[in-house]
Amino acid sequence: MKKVLAALLAGGLVLSTVGCGGSSKSEVVATPDQSAPVAAAEENKKEPVTIKHWYWADNTEYSAVMQDIVKKFNETNESGITVVAEEYPWDGGGYSNTLFSAAMGGGGPDTASWKLTSTPLFTANNLLANLDDYIANWDQKDDIDQNLYDIMKQAGGTENIHVMPWNTQILYVYYRPSMFEEVGIEVPKTYEEFLTACEKLTRDTDGDGKTDVYGFGMRGAKGGQEPWGSFIHGRGGNFEDMTSPESVAGMQDFIDLYQKGYVPPTAPTDGFNEIIANFKSGRTAMTIHHTGSSAGMIETFGEDVSAFPFPAGKGQWTSMGDTENVIFESCKNKDAAFEWVAYLATGEGQKIWCEATGNVPVSKTVQALDFYQNNKFMKASIEGMSYAGILPILDTTTEWISVTWPNTVGFALTGEMTAEETMKVLQEELYK
């Protein structure tokens, strides 16, 4: 019996010593992503290269599309590159944290799908490759608007471009034409008309004294800062000075919509899922989102759904959502990595992805395709492009978006904070 006990103990010890001993030989061990690929055997000039790519998928179909693109790229590229794409959960933005922790821990992929807001955190820690030279020497450089490169540059807070454009999502207003007809209003042309429409579309349809249809589906949870920005600018305010009387007036409009009951009472915690569900179920008459949801809308309503760009008041603004790709500084084959992200930006990868997901392409060539010109939702997106913008991207932005904005605006909606107080907090926290 002693033996059994000793064996158990020994087993435990071996396990734990194996655990400890490993650390000493760590330098010798090669990174796993260097294993030789089998593809491109006929290409004998260039060494076969493997690129590890991380991405998230918004649903299982998109995941399949991504794998298709990878497969196509691996088959057609002439440099012997094999991309291995691994999916990570979006996790409400937790994706960027997973990526960051891995990169800081010395692991992580060669390339990854990206959100601009996390750029300052990564560039501050020198984790991203500088793409300046790659882009300057790239034959398809001009297929992407210079404006986009500038935005990428600003986001990193440095002089260099670290982020490769991939696709954008311009927010616009979805509406139900049948409901507009029922209350007898036209598509709003101005910001004020939009606010009036919210009021008029709020109705008690079955006469039981309770509101059944709300004019507008407000997003008060994380991510709600995007449509909210349109209200701030509608009164002539901006993000640089959120405490200006104009900005505060926009905030007041936002609060009023909630307090007067023109938006569902669940608004403070409504996220993408809720605003889309409420719109689809007919509980709201308008909501703000991008083309990513248009396929589902058509499936639900057929012809009874349309879109208009967020109208102008004293100012006009809509949020440009974004998705990019980056190359990590630790990547050993940056040339190959660039070939891959370029394929996604202007090549076949761009076309397949944008057609499947309904995102707005960054490649001018792809934008010019019929598919984008004849689609009413794409049209609303492209119309919005001229005044579309992004939040100032600072190292505080991520926390501001995921914690400060939803909670502070929550206080405002329920009347615990005034519009002035709210905007003061938002200003301080973003620029701290």
């Binding site: 006990l5 490993g22 299982t60 399949a64 996790d91 922790s101 821990g105």
Partner: protein, 278 residues
Amino acid sequence: MDKKHISFGKIFGLYLPLIAILLFLLFPFYWTFITSIKPEAELYGSVVTYWPKNTTFEAYRKLFFEFNFLKAMGNSLVVTVSTTVLSLVVSVLAAYAFSRYRFKGRKFFMVMFLTNNMFPTVLLLIPLYAIMRKLNILYTPGALVLAYTTFTIPFSVWLMNGYMNDLPSSLEEAALVDGANRATAFIKIILPMLTPCIVATGVYIFMNAWNEYTFAVMFTNEANRTIPVALKSLIGQLGVQWDLLTAGGIITIIPVCILFFFAQKRLVEGLTAGAVKG
């Protein structure tokens, strides 16, 4: 005894509270199942339906044939079982030492094990990731098992220590007097008596490893994803895939319940099969 009296007592002492608690515990599960077979239009309908008008098992088919959920389940099982076995073995030994021996540094080690539980994992992510990479076990099930055991072991040691202290030590003493050595006494007497507590602790470890997300997303890649990560992948930026998510939940729960159905017998048998009637 009066039979009617018993049944009356049973109704109020057993069945009514049992039904109330079960209703509370199981309703969300029922609702998960209903959601998994409801078409989306009905999910967001104006009337809440307690049984779907149209049932669809499409999500289950998709989960197995397109989403490869079985693989995630297999990965979870490997990680969970390894974690449970490893944690139990080392914790039983340590708990036994803490309970039955008095030695220098005992209090210190016990307190150390307890405080170990108190530190939030979010702060340990980056250093742990670096350690796993140095050990060269990153993106293998081993990384997860190691990460989980560091949290399950201290907990289990304390839990089993508590049980062991409640167990009378007279039996081992009797065995020792009879000339058995400590190891024999441990295996012949203590282990059988501990069975219920080992099962309970094992269940605890199993659940923790089965449900953990934060480490799982860091230390696995696509090849060895576990269930919580697979489920989380179903929530993208465009909405929750309710059908797949809830169906995934249901098929996650069922095998564990079946497993536990067989394990729970041990919870009862412990003492009666053991040595108390000695």
